[in-house]
């Protein structure tokens, strides 16, 4: 963080002198260009890797409050990972970093994670806000599961690599309601009125509703969009839906304020509450993948090197499963690394047999991807946004 150092120095100087007080001086001090040199730097590891991730997305030692896989990485290679869980939804994180990226400035992060069922991941790549991966440093990329090898936003995986996948379905609390297994139930059952939430991500929510309507979410038409949209709107108007949420449904659900929620598989696995169940809706659920990217100005070699580390099946398996004996919780989402399951089984067999983490083939067949064009349709986006912030 050379930038931080200069900032500190400037602060000291500012405290001594009054140069700081002059407006032009300060404006000039605001300037700063991305360290493009670091992008081309030789194959030498940086001292620190800055990694921005979604919340609760890393193996955690609950006793020591550390991240075992990151500690191990530092021990092995001498790179400290400055790991921050600051991403809560794609839109606001993109909003946060795009100002700098759009003018070619570094955001001081080496890895960020964005989801493929929102428009921002492809926007980052399309707008040239990301660095190319250094594939020579990622031999373990061969372990990437086949289905993830050629996504439409990054055909050859030149810029992105999956972190974890997950499914969107319905969770319910069995102390408050019977099983809620369909979108129909969620949106219209009067017993659930005011006690359900819907996800605020259009891709997640509409995939589920379209499947329930018998439409194909991977090929959205105006007709299927309107049908799905109006169904959600009706549920809002009838006060069936209490709120639109991102990750934030989890505490409300766990607290008992909700009976059921449109939700993500891994969150429920992490909750570890035996009364809260998650299932793929009867008519099918959504599948999404969070992808690691190197934002412009990030250290490509170190970031790629780290990606290689987590693509080692053994490392990935341990990250996924944690270790109950050592009080380590895992990530509990769906790993994109082939062979991770074998290793996960060794440290926590219950994780390896959990279909939320290592889904069965039947489950995977029932989940669908959302149409990428619809994600970038301005009309749909505005309409959806107006609905969720009524």
């Amino acid at each position: 963080m050379t930038d931080q150092l200069t900032r500190r120095e400037l602060l000291k100087r500012g405290a001594a002198g009054s140069a700081l007080l002059t407006v032009p001086g300060l404006l000039a001090a605001c300037g700063g260009k991305a360290k493009s040199s670091s992008a081309k730097s030789a194959h030498k590891l940086a001292k620190t890797l800055h990694f921005s991730n979604w919340t609760l997305y890393m193996d955690t030692n609950k006793k020591k409050h550390t991240f075992p896989s990151l500690v191990e990485f530092q021990k092995k290679y001498g790179v400290h990972v400055d790991y921050v869980e600051e991403i809560n939804d794609n839109a606001s994180f993109f909003g946060k970093i795009q100002g700098q990226l759009s003018r070619g400035q570094s955001v001081h992060r080496d890895i960020v994670v964005l989801t493929d069922n929102d428009r921002y991941l492809s926007l980052m790549i399309k707008k040239g806000y990301v660095e190319k991966l250094d594939k020579s440093a990622i031999p373990n990329m061969k372990n990437l599961v086949d289905v993830q090898k050629h996504p439409n936003f990054d055909q050859n995986r030149d810029y992105s690599l999956p972190w974890q996948s997950g499914m969107t379905g319905i969770a319910y609390n069995d102390t408050l309601t019977g099983p809620v297994l369909s979108v129909d139930d969620l949106l219209t059952n009067p017993k659930l009125k005011g006690k359900v939430t819907c996800l605020n991500s259009m891709g997640d929510a509409l995939t589920l509703v379209m499947l329930s309507n018998g439409d194909d979410p991977s090929k959205v038409t105006d007709k299927s969009f309107n049908a799905a949209f109006n169904r959600v709107k009706k549920a809002v108007d009838s006060k069936q839906i209490r709120q639109f949420t991102g990750n934030d449904y989890a505490p409300i659900l766990a607290r008992g304020d909700l009976m059921a929620a449109m939700s993500w598989s891994g969150d429920i696995a992490q909750l570890g509450n035996k009364h809260i169940h998650w299932n793929v809706p009867k008519d099918g659920g959504a599948l999404w993948t969070d992808n690691m990217l190197i934002p412009k100005g990030g250290n490509v070699y170190t970031a790629s090197f780290y990606m290689n580390y987590v693509y080692d099946p053994k490392v990935q398996g341990l990250m996924e499963a944690g270790d109950p004996k050592k009080n380590i919780t895992g990530i509990y989402y769906i790993p994109p690394v082939a062979g991770a399951g074998e290793w996960a089984k060794k440290s926590d067999p219950s994780v390896a047999s959990n279909p939320l983490i290592f889904p069965t083939k039947k489950m995977l067949d029932s989940v669908h991807l959302f149409d990428n064009n619809a994600l970038n349709n301005q009309k749909y986006l505005t309409q959806w946004q107006n609905l969720i912030s009524a």
């Binding site: 605001c30 600051e86 809560n88 946060k96 003018r103 001081h108 989890a250």
Partner: protein, 281 residues
């Protein structure tokens, strides 16, 4: 109630006394209820800082533990967020108070053209919703292509909205004080600068200190303006906002409690000192 009291208002009879006592106590009881209401959320924050959540969420009481205090920085990002907030609050409050004190001096001490405009310029930021302050500054920065969002943009914003508070606080004190002291100093041969240093400054010091504390408090608590202008930096309130989405960890309560206790202690010391001074005087 007044119509009954009318004929006997001047007579100190029994009924009136009882009524008066009751009325007095009604107000007192009400006030205590008011304070209970005011302090209830704070109590909740404090209690939950000792919670021992079984899952990853801190929302229902699960049992007592010291762990959250022992591992106060056991959540990634919380430590750097706190330090960034402190850093910004210190620098912003010092600069804003300096600028604000100078403006207050000019307003109280000198007659000059543009006084009314200045007053309006000071008043306006106080009467603009934070979201508009934040949004307009963001628009400025977005249009200046050389600006990097982060520490400096946050600092600029904080100084901006603190200046008016500093001016108002210091001005209130300056208006109320005796100019004769300064005139006397000048008569004794002190020049303007010496007079300022030896007379004006010591007399305004309490107000300057108050302005400093106020600016510090406002800066360290600011969410909205910072949210718009932080770029990729994370201050403590931004950290809480992010964490709230998935249920804030107990460490957030720990820090909240700690800030509360430190601030309260500082204010208590101040109150005690003031009383001592009053007693002596």
């Amino acid at each position: 109630m007044s119509s009954i009291a009318v004929p006997t208002a001047r007579e100190p009879n029994f009924l009136a006394t009882v009524l008066a006592v009751v009325r007095r106590h009604v107000l007192t009881v009400y006030s205590f209820l008011f304070f209970a209401y005011l302090l209830l959320p704070i109590a909740v924050v404090m209690i939950f800082s000792f919670n021992n959540p079984t899952g990853k969420f801190n929302y229902t009481w699960q049992g007592f533990t010291w762990d959250n205090w022992r591992y106060w920085d056991g959540v990634p990002g919380i430590r750097s967020a706190i330090f960034l907030s402190l850093e910004i609050a210190v620098v912003a409050s010092v600069i804003a108070t300096a600028l604000g004190t100078m403006i207050a001096l000019a307003l109280v001490r000198y007659g000059f053209r543009g006084r009314a405009t200045t007053n309006i310029l000071i008043f306006l930021p106080l009467s603009t919703p934070e979201i508009v302050l934040g949004a307009s500054l963001l628009t400025l920065f977005l249009n200046l292509s050389f600006v990097t969002f982060g520490f400096w943009t946050i600092l600029i914003a904080h100084i901006m909205f603190c200046i008016s508070f500093a001016v108002v606080t210091v001005k209130a004190r300056l208006v109320g004080f005796d100019r004769h002291l300064e005139e006397a100093a000048m008569d004794l041969g002190a020049n303007e600068w010496t007079t300022f240093r030896k007379v004006t400054l010591p007399l305004t010091a309490p107000a300057i200190l108050a302005a400093l504390l106020l600016c510090f408090a406002i800066s360290i608590d600011d969410f909205v303006v910072t949210y718009f202008n932080s770029g990729s930096e994370v201050t403590f309130p931004l950290f809480v906002w992010g964490a709230a989405r998935i249920g804030a960890p107990a460490q957030v309560n720990v820090i909240g409690t700690a800030i509360f206790v430190v601030a309260l202690a500082a204010m208590l010391v101040n109150v005690v000192f003031q009383r001592r001074r009053e007693v002596r005087a």
